[in-house]
């Protein structure tokens, strides 16, 4: 029976769907299900050193003793962890020297995913002509493409290397920079942190590693596209970014997934480490398949993202635009340990149809004179549920802390929900904490006004929603901002009329 189902799944995964654009690339799967053998298989597949395997096995042992959290406002269907694949990679090919050698099928997938023309050109033009006449680089975005689980192409490597920046798939980094990876992996999000992070620690397939050396301002935006391609393959990305003293990097993460009827689990872990006077700006546009209007299909997105502002005057800025996934469980957080460190969280979360989102942030103030800003914009439509959940904690030793939180919710229609759950724990009397929250409905006056000037209903909604989310969108790098604006409109299609 099991063998039959495997064969069916395999066949389905390799079939080119007429509408769903499952692409036709040969996969190599780990056997279905999750066991110590699965963990060993993944590690062996990647040719990992013993310490990495041991680390994974320790996490797996921990995971078996844990239970999925149920404190969120999400209604999560039971997930059968034995009924999924934990590893899939495009069939081994000779190591690629340039993007020209990338499977044209993969490039075609990028096109279907709607990766902006500019960046597609960049992808295509990278090898031939990376510099302008005056010697400056032509594009300011480097893409590390994660296709399913294995990184197939990394661009701009040379220019980054000249600056001393390491930008690698994490599998490569484990082999090439074992000391750096070992020093920081699991230091921000410990193996036992939470159910999904622990699972990720055991079975993470690939992801990205970035190291910015002391005093270096990364010469371009770094970008990774994630894409889930194989049916039933859980995605367990692992990202680790270390910004050494006085350095700066802006990192972009964009995600999409093809049409699917079966739910897919995604449990990523992102760890950021920021040393003295360094800054990381981390921007996400998340647009995975949200399921259809009846809530069938869609990605389950359980993500643990955390930054450790270890150094004095260090800074982390999270910006996220969350429009996809059937379920989003995600709280990009900042541990503000260094004195004078700064944490920011700017979020737009859109839910439509039957989507559920429970998202927010945690700002943990440990150092003196640490500051944090939280701006959250939730937009609910259809029969969806959208929750902001945030924690601001001030430790007894943290003098002179300041926090400003603003949570705004916008409702479209009368069958959706918006919830705000702020937790504030202050143990130092010098702290100044501000919290503002609003909930509003998109008004008929606004819609009619915009329509009477020539915009159709959907364009009018998109415009009003973009205005509502402006404070967050303007935090995004330019190229991303344009994409994100369009995405908000697209995500709300069918929500009025």
């Amino acid at each position: 029976m099991m063998a039959t189902r495997n064969a069916e799944a395999y066949a389905a995964a390799n079939k080119t769907y007429e509408w769903g654009f499952s692409s036709d690339i040969e996969q190599e799967f780990a056997p279905k299900g999750l066991s110590e053998d699965t963990v060993r298989f993944i590690s062996a597949k990647k040719g990992e050193p013993q310490w990495m395997l041991d680390w994974r096995l320790k996490a797996f042992a921990l995971w078996q003793t844990m239970e999925a959290p149920d404190w969120s406002k999400l209604n999560v269907p039971p997930i059968d962890y034995q009924d999924a694949y934990y590893y899939a990679e495009p069939k081994a090919k000779p190591k690629l020297g340039s993007l020209d050698e990338v499977d044209p099928e993969i490039l075609r997938v990028y096109e279907k995913l709607g990766i902006p023309i500019g960046e597609q050109k960049m992808l295509a033009g990278v090898v031939e002509d990376p510099l302008n006449e005056d010697g400056t680089p032509k594009r300011r975005v480097a893409v590390d493409a994660v296709f399913d689980s294995v990184s197939v192409a990394t661009t701009f490597r040379k220019e980054l290397e000249a600056a001393g920046v390491i930008f690698r798939s994490i599998s490569e980094a484990i082999k090439e920079y074992p000391d750096l990876v070992r020093k920081w992996l699991g230091k921000v999000v410990p193996q036992r942190d939470n159910y999904f992070a622990t699972l990720n620690s055991a079975v993470f397939s690939d992801g990205t590693f970035v190291y910015i050396p002391e005093g270096v301002r990364c010469p371009m935006e770094l970008s990774t596209y994630f894409r889930i391609n194989a049916e039933n393959t859980g995605q367990f990305e692992r990202t680790l970014i270390v910004a050494d003293k006085g350095s700066y990097v802006s990192y972009l993460e964009g995600c999409t997934a093809p049409m699917r009827d079966e739910n897919q689990l995604h449990a990523a872990v992102v760890e950021l480490v920021v040393l003295d006077d360094a800054e990381i700006k981390y921007s996400t546009v998340q647009n995975w398949y949200p399921g259809d209007e009846n809530g069938v299909g869609g990605i389950y997105n359980f993500v643990t993202k955390r930054a450790l502002c270890q150094g004095k005057n260090s800074k982390v800025s999270w910006t996220q635009v969350e429009t996809g996934s059937a379920i989003t469980w995600k709280y990009p957080s900042c541990v503000l340990a260094g004195d004078g460190s700064v944490g920011e969280f700017y979020s737009v979360a859109v839910t439509n149809n039957r989507q559920q989102a429970d998202t927010g942030t945690k700002m943990i103030h440990l150092g003196k004179n640490t500051r944090s800003t939280i701006v959250s914009k939730g937009i609910s439509a259809g029969r969806s549920d959208n929750t902001y959940r945030g924690l601001v904690r001030v430790a007894p030793t943290a003098e002179g802390v300041r926090n400003f939180t603003q949570c705004d919710s916008l409702l479209l229609g009368d069958q959706c929900g918006a919830h705000t759950v702020p937790y504030i724990e202050v143990r130092n009397p010098s702290a100044q904490i501000e919290h503002e929250a609003t909930t509003s409905k998109i008004s008929e006056d606004q819609l009619f006004y915009a329509m009477s000037r020539g915009l159709d209903a959907e364009a009018a909604v998109a415009l009003i929603v973009n205005g509502f989310a402006r404070e967050v969108l303007q935090q995004l790098p330019m190229e991303f901002a344009v994409e994100a604006q369009k995405l908000l409109g697209i995500s709300l299609e069918g929500s009025v009329g």
Partner: protein, 247 residues
């Protein structure tokens, strides 16, 4: 240009317009006056295509097209402009962005080429100059934090940018001081006084008509036009009030 015949319209099951007929030809300015609750704003909303206002019988044609079959944005593209009594605030969206998107949407519906950012800005600044509006206000979110007078001035700037064939101006004079009234009145004349254009001015008071001289004045009472005349009718209303005339 515009022909309204025996128009009946209701909102929430309550009939407001009860057999209104009116014909407006190109080159004409018509003023609609009348007491509160007569149906003046409803007429504007019905012509503008506001959802929720249901036409139960009668017809409205605009340049021979059945206007009632068009959605609000299609009416805009066809050349109908509705100036709001209470212009609406749209936080986070700049005037420039709003108007450029709206104008280009209209142009797309008419199969015209979109205006580039530069072309649009030039057009918008030209109109702002003519109406004495600061460029700064073009960059500010639509109507947010604008005074009553600034909002009305902004409506006129919008009208100048859109350059419609037919404008319905709903109490554009309310909330204006004397100086602003003159600026707005001049704007209406400049933008809309043309042989191929027409205006329907909805107003309570005679004072706007000192600046924008109507060719016809109609008194709307209880959902119908009860009296029509020339501009002298407005003066008569001003001195005698609606009570005697509408009865």
């Amino acid at each position: 240009m515009l022909k309204i015949e025996n128009l009946h319209a209701e909102i929430d099951g309550k009939e407001i317009l009860k057999g209104l007929s009116l014909e407006v030809n190109a080159g004409e300015v018509h003023a609609i006056m009348g007491p509160n609750g007569a149906g003046k704003s409803t007429l504007g909303y019905v012509l503008g295509g506001r959802p929720g206002y249901e036409v139960t019988s009668g017809s409205v044609t605009f340049d021979g097209v059945n206007l009632l079959e068009l959605e609000a944005h299609e009416r805009a593209a066809a050349g109908v402009f509705l100036g709001f009594q209470y212009p609406v605030e749209i936080p986070g969206v700049s005037n420039v962005q709003f108007l450029r998107e709206a104008l280009n949407a209209q142009r797309a519906t008419r199969d015209e080429k979109a205006l580039s950012g530069g072309e649009f800005l030039k057009l918008a600044r030209g109109q702002a100059d003519l109406l004495g509006m600061d460029y700064d206000m073009l960059k500010r979110p639509v109507n947010v934090g604008f005074s009553g007078g600034e909002k009305k001035r902004n409506e006129m700037v919008q009208m100048g940018i859109v350059n419609p064939k037919f404008a319905i101006l709903d109490e554009t004079d309310s909330g204006l001081d004397i100086d602003a009234l003159r600026v707005v009145g001049d704007g209406i004349n400049r933008i809309m006084r043309a042989p191929d254009k027409a205006v329907l001015l909805i107003t309570h008071y005679q004072r706007l008509l000192d600046y924008v001289e109507p060719d016809f004045v109609h008194v709307l009472a209880d959902g119908r036009i009860v009296r029509s005349g020339g501009k002298e009718l407005a003066q008569q209303l001003e001195s005698e009030g609606y009570v005697g005339i509408a009865a």
